[in-house]
Subunit: 354 residues, 4 copies
């Protein structure tokens, strides 16, 4: 019953095999090898246009690389207050990017046009003391397990364009969001105004397959040098490229993400059928945010279920746990099985009955 | 005839197998898993004392993590002018570490006590404008294919201790240096005054196995948070740990490094037997720095040999190439075969004869 | 009717005279001159203990110097959400200090023990992703014209000590706060746990007299080098020292601040007597935050009054302007006269009557 | 006999008077006042074109502001190895600018086209590891008391333009250089390719009158926000503006600099007439670099002369002091009198005779 996070899983057999397949032979270093070229091309096909690709060790690194490449003096980055860059990167963005992070409130984990517009208005051009907006960062799927539809992204994209903001998307669970929205990668990124995407395949079944995908040729040099200066250029980059290629081949990413989303949905449905349990947000990807009785949570833990207590302060007011309740996060992955889910729901039912 | 760099090779079968072996199952993320604990323990055994270990994506990252964790305002880091942090990390150290890098001249790629002492004297305590020494960084084996013996390290270590400098060692080719010096890892690091080691197994036969090994408990928190803030904490860290464990098991690192060093020695011996060729520095590890006729270099390239033209400006005055000569670098790896070396030497002999 | 800010005033005759008095002669540079020594000694007397003093160009610089000297990887600084470092320094603190700024809500412009304790709890030691608390910054007088009493400071100081946080005080209007609280400088700073004080005399009647006063000898080197590395060491520092000396001589600071506070009080009293006007916070120093009818604000501006429209978003919920109202800020200075205040109140009364 | 530095002097009467003249009255803050506008206009006249002006506290700050506003990832700044940014700003440029400083050797304190071109060639575009050139910084007058003529500047300017480098000039002693070269400010700056000038009047007779003068409108926003984010925007900026205006009025800067240069020349001539003394570089501005017998230096110090022992390591090989000799630096200022110089030369003659 491992629902702690999707990064508790290992790697899919296809990814492992792809990695094994490139054990031998010589290839030039630092991303000038054939596999890396193939990966870039495959990502070009995936996004239906030429792209620049910068492999990184982690999703945090992809986020910081994206933002630091576009950083300007006095810069402000707008993001949801629960965004990874704001709460889970140990002040790295402040330190490496050197820009202010402006936390937006937005329901169900999404930033929205109204909040963003109002926030921008607090940085009037004549008032240099406040700083100036440089970028906006959206998380797709969000930190509350929801997604942005194409119209949502395009609405933010339009504001970004009007205000000369770079639009960054943190896509640590981008595959899951694509499956949920059933749209093309192009439609929900560059066609909707996204400039830079932190694309992550690690949570979806790779060892370490994270990258910045850039839809902005003019940022190529800045990203290239910043990637190097951040210590993010793998010397044997074919191991990173091989993982990305395995993910893209035959839509393997989709198979894995669909499975993970499906397992989360099953979990979610089961939980909503339990007395005293409700969802904190709709289960759109592979994460379930549920509000359950504290007693039940305790019994679930006692029976070996692994999940996260979710910090109350990151919840919207209208979904705050009540007296005797708590919010938990359950994450399914490609490696989650029907059995895992059934065991969890059985344990929950026993707890309910107790 | 791939002598471009040791990072052109793939991975050793043992490393590949170790990675495959942990494909399945669930493990907690961000380095709290069992394999990571085992790797830390194995490194403790390797160094004959408790150590802290911080896995990173690259050697550059390990260097920058080490130095940024100990950075202080006005700080100066002393290193050889050919050091990786000075010439191959795209101003990352300046940007992420924020300290001045003071280039030391030192023959055969080594910094020495005299140069360091003189450099320190140019930062008198009362003259705040210049800055103050904070750290010294040695590269073991050096960027000229030589190594520091225990006495060399201890001499620098003593100066560092007297001047309250952190002693960092860049060990991108630490295995090769250990084999060359035939000493224990303990003797040439913490027993000689090294505080922080960038330990790299990538060049020696892993995909991406780089880490900071800290012999200073008091730096644990700073390294821990800085690693996170630099985007250098792999979520599925067991894949990094598995590689390190494979390297340490049954002294696999030694087998690989001994082979690479041996291949370089064979190459080196062959080159010195050629008319008009000489070494720029003794071949102590898996790198050969040779001065050869430009015509020979051209013919070698034409016959498919891959090696690096080495920048003249990084050479010591007494080993500068003469008229019609050039310096080249040849690097052997675990994957280099006798055949590769023989082919190269044959081609060189043909060039000589021509 | 200049109530735009206290930094719209010039300098007091005593300060101007002190500056003129040191026009001639030679003195060693960068703060090694006699006047600077005298200023340090005079500040030692002022604070009733030895202090280190680092003159800076601006209060922003003093804040950033303080925080950057104590910055650590993954660090978090707690401050009121209206604090100058958060809203008025153009992302400088993020960029130069490299730490996360955690905004605390607290009524009447003050941070409080409860909020701080709760915020600290969201940075549990085992959860490296969030970062770690390093410092807390209080503004005395606050950005809402209120002050902290000794007990307030001591309460925060106790939490800081227990949690190993550096306690910084932004004292851009420290003189005004001292007058308001009628306590000794010692009592409300180092005796209550303050480690570093940004002490500003500029707003109180100097040209540019800002400094970091440190009560922590162990931070001397870090502050010294950071001051230099930030470009904040005046070469002819006697001009800065002379201003500080003039301010301290015969309690000149107190005379000026008492006058400014008194003018603000008169203004404040007058405003509360007007129909439809109320204070957003008690007028404790030389700033008045008032909620007045929008129509009145317009008429005041038309009659030449200069004041600031205060951003609604920085106001506490219970003092938010209602329909047809707005919040304004009026600042008195040493140069404000009874006539200025009377003219303003007359204009306001005329507006009320209209 | 104060020849320690030109910043040991106070301020010229005209500057002091200008400051006193603006003691009274109210003016809007942060550089939006009339005097600041007048200063910008006066500087526009001075440079014979529209300019942007950013006042700073110190010359170091002006240098760091200039370079940090144009900083890019992986960036390299080329400067003479004796440049202030390299040796006298306590690693501030590394820390605040985040770019690598590449030290150029160049005789008589000047960088030259050949050295710069060769250095640029070591940063080939395809080799991302090294970084990329972003800016070049010249010091006018140099740190060895010499100057660049218009052709010198234009030669560097042409290289800068071809290589897309920003050309920065550190003009801490710009007035002295102007007088020495007898050219217009325009000719030796923007007309020769200079983009950003750190213009300093402090050493020439102001308290603190330093500024970045920008000839590049496209950098206005970056400079504006960076100035603020560095804590370099004086709130009562009229005091800075007043000093600059006093300097520009009736060519006051020229009167002061001509006097200082003349005093240095007299000193220089006197020294070269002494047995065993010679110049390390021609005395073109207000600084004399002389190589004198150590015994003489000692006797001069004993008789109360104040000057600086100049570090040997910053001297060119052909001007290194010989056995029993040392290099000293003597700086004249607006406040240096004929008597000072005569006393010094008398004392030197007595030492010679001894």
């Amino acid at each position: 019953m491992f629902f702690g996070s999707d990064n508790w899983a290992g790697v899919s057999p296809q990814v492992a095999e792809a990695l094994s397949a490139c054990t031998d032979g010589f290839a030039s270093a630092y991303g000038s090898d054939d596999l890396t070229t193939q990966a870039r091309d495959a990502l070009g096909t995936f996004f239906d246009r030429d792209v620049d690709v910068f492999f990184t060790a982690t999703g945090s690194a992809a986020n910081m690389l994206s933002l630091s490449a576009v950083a300007r003096p006095g810069g402000v980055v707008f993001a949801h207050r629960d965004a990874h860059i704001l709460v889970d990167e140990a002040a790295g963005p402040e330190s490496l990017v050197g820009m202010k992070l402006h936390a937006l409130i937005g329901c169900q984990g999404r930033i929205n046009a109204k909040e963003l517009t109002e926030a921008l208005a607090t940085y009037p051009r004549e008032h240099v003391h406040r700083g100036r907006g440089i970028a906006v960062s959206m998380t797709q799927g969000t930190e509350l397990g929801t997604t942005y539809c194409v119209m949502d992204v395009a609405a933010i994209g339009a504001i970004a364009r009007r205000n000369n903001l770079v639009l960054h998307m943190d896509g640590a669970r981008f595959s899951n969001a694509l499956v949920a929205q059933n749209v093309t990668p192009a439609a929900i990124t560059h066609e909707s105004g996204v400039d830079l995407l932190s694309l992550g395949f690690t949570k979806n079944g790779a060892w370490a397959s994270e990258m910045v995908v850039s839809f902005r040729e003019d940022l190529r040099d800045d990203l290239t040098y910043r990637q190097k200066a951040m210590g993010q250029v793998f010397s044997k980059n074919r191991f990173a490229a091989a993982q990305a290629l395995a993910m893209l081949k035959d839509d393997h990413w989709k198979v894995l993400a669909s499975h993970a989303n499906g397992m989360a949905k099953k979990l979610s449905d089961g939980i909503t059928n339990l007395d005293g349990c409700r969802l904190a947000a709709p289960t759109e990807i592979n994460e379930v945010f549920a509000i359950i009785p504290q007693a039940m949570a305790q019994q679930l833990e006692d029976s070996g279920a692994i999940f996260a207590d979710w910090p109350e302060d990151s919840a919207e007011a209208d979904i705050a746990p009540g007296e005797g309740e708590m919010m938990i996060r359950l994450v399914a992955s490609f490696a989650t099985t029907d059995d895992h889910v059934d065991q969890f729901l059985d344990a929950a039912q026993r707890a309910e009955a107790a």
